[in-house]
Amino acid sequence: MNSPDLYQQALLDLARAAHGAGTLPSPDGSVLRDSPLCGDRVRLQVALEAGRITAIAHDVKGCLLCRAAASLVGLHGTGLNATEADALRGQVAATLAGSEPPPGWPELALFAPVRPHRNRHGCVLLPFEALAAALDSHSRA
């Protein structure tokens, strides 16, 4: 049942790399997302041009899974538009449910050992949800 390799070295490295950690001077979209039950919190900002992300910054108070996921968002998120970010969120959920990672996001495979731990899916999803919401907050503003 339990996955001894949940905390693989590659996942730890990804979390520590913290791609995109920080703040943007004048973000176009910005959201604060709480995980209601575990209290984790992600602040995520995006800069946009023609509806596509040109820069991402995040500040994560969360576990390794959440930090690794945010780092991944920082690594590959640039270039997405609102529709794609929304689709990505769904794809990450699908990956946690057992599907293959979507094209362009091979590192999501690192989260495969999280699959049986449904209570931790939210940790992985939180940054992706914040990303979709940040684009959405912009499009609605």
Binding site: M1, N2, D34, P36, L37, P116, H117, R118, N119, R120
Partner: protein
């Protein structure tokens, strides 16, 4: 007939062990089915943990079992998704939740439509709301035989109506409410509809989508499940529009000293540790019930109800409460015998091993309507059989002899 009451009875440990018992008080509480008992016990002895996101295996199992129970309840109700299922302490708690959360948005002069046939649990919460917020209660009147009089719907449910809260079936007369016109009339004026399903779910799966209501309430213990648990189903959009009712752990987004944000439904409405084992037991009961041959079972209980009604007809001084046509009612049979108080009748019946209830059945306005103070009620479940009905009739004749 694809159904054997004797075999069904074996799924109910109390009845399996008490062959001599003629249990006909099913509208008060059903007997627990083995599926419910076993599932609840399995939780307590194999995977007991709290369900607020523990990260260890036991907690993961508990969470999975609890959320599975939500899915089982959603399936029984044909809900759009399990997040439409809120676990509560019972029907009464479910209705009070709506009376407070939805009631918060009402103002003096807004109208809530009930019927005269409501159980106190779908009556008193609205009286209390009237006290708090000055809403007006409008009561759908009844036909002489106790059915909701739909010909008077137009004058009762007006554009000032914000909510219609009506029973799916009366716990006294068994009369099944003609919901479609009520739902349509409520929809036409933009009012919400709450259905009290406490007496309906134990007679087969419910289709909330087809009913077209916004809220549906029921209790586990009347559906052959555990005491201490119930369900409030709410259409996704209707639940999302409700503020929380009770405050506490598990229903929050974030709490600071200054302000607090709330979790999305269903957790927004589940403050504190929920009735975990009971929800799991109820889910198992509903899952088991869903697979039963309901057409045959309902034909069986209707036949027993008819046998009882026919047997009662020979008694002198009988007042029969409710419609006689079994197509319009559930197998709940209430009556009065002139000069015999229901409690005395029940006491004598007990000597015959017959468990029936006498009194106002938490429906005093309906009793007042019928001009009686109380009634004897026999409520039939699929595990009942001819012998149960015959014991009741024999006991009643003795009661007449003894007490009159």
């Amino acid at each position: 007939m694809n159904f054997s009451p004797a075999k069904w009875r074996r799924h109910f440990p109390l009845l399996a062990a008490h062959h001599e018992l003629h249990y006909l008080d099913n509208a008060a509480t059903g007997q627990t089915c083995a599926a419910a008992l076993n599932a609840a016990t399995a939780f307590d002895t194999q995977s007991r943990a709290n369900v607020l996101r523990g990260t260890y295996r036991l907690a993961e199992q508990a969470d999975a079992a609890y959320e599975n129970a939500r899915r089982q309840a959603a399936a029984y109700l044909n809900a759009a998704g399990s997040e439409e299922v809120v676990f509560t302490a019972g029907t009464t708690a479910s209705i009070n939740l709506v009376a407070h959360a939805f009631g918060e948005g009402l103002h003096a002069g807004d109208e809530v439509v009930l019927s005269l046939a409501e159980h106190h649990s779908n009556f008193v919460p609205w009286q209390m709301l009237r006290e708090r917020r000055g809403v007006v209660l409008r009561l759908l009147p009844l036909t002489a035989d106790g059915r909701i009089d739909l010909s008077r719907l137009g004058e009762t449910l007006t554009p000032r109506c914000k909510l219609a809260a009506v029973t799916h079936a009366s716990n006294v007369t068994g009369a099944v409410t003609g919901l479609a016109p009520i739902v349509a009339a409520a929809r036409a004026v933009g009012a919400r509809v709450l259905i009290d399903g406490a007496q309906a779910v134990q007679h087969g799966p419910v289709d909330v989508a087809a009913l077209g209501a916004d809220f549906y309430a029921f209790s586990g213990h009347k559906a052959f499940g555990p005491t201490g648990v119930g369900v409030l189903w709410g259409r996704g959009e209707a639940l999302a529009a409700l503020p929380p009712f009770l405050g506490g752990g598990g229903m929050i987004g974030r709490v600071t000293v200054e302000e607090t944000t709330y979790a999305p439904p269903p957790r927004r409405f589940e403050a504190g540790t929920p009735p975990i084992a009971q929800a799991i037991g109820l889910g198992a009961a509903l899952d088991w019930l869903r697979a039963q041959p309901w057409a045959d079972m309902n034909a069986h209980t209707a036949r027993l109800a008819q046998r009882l009604i026919d047997g009662l007809a020979v008694l002198r001084g009988l007042t029969f409460l409710g419609p006689r046509d079994l197509k319009e009612r559930l197998p709940i049979v209430s009556f009065n015998l002139e000069g015999i108080h229901p409690h005395d009748a029940c006491q004598v019946l007990d000597e015959y091993g017959v468990a029936v209830r006498g009194g106002h059945h938490c429906a005093q306005p309906l009793m007042d309507f019928f001009g009686v103070q109380g009634a004897v009620r026999a409520s039939i479940a699929p595990y009942n059989d001819d012998a149960d009905i015959d014991a009741l009739l024999a006991g009643l004749q003795d009661a007449v002899r003894k007490l009159k």
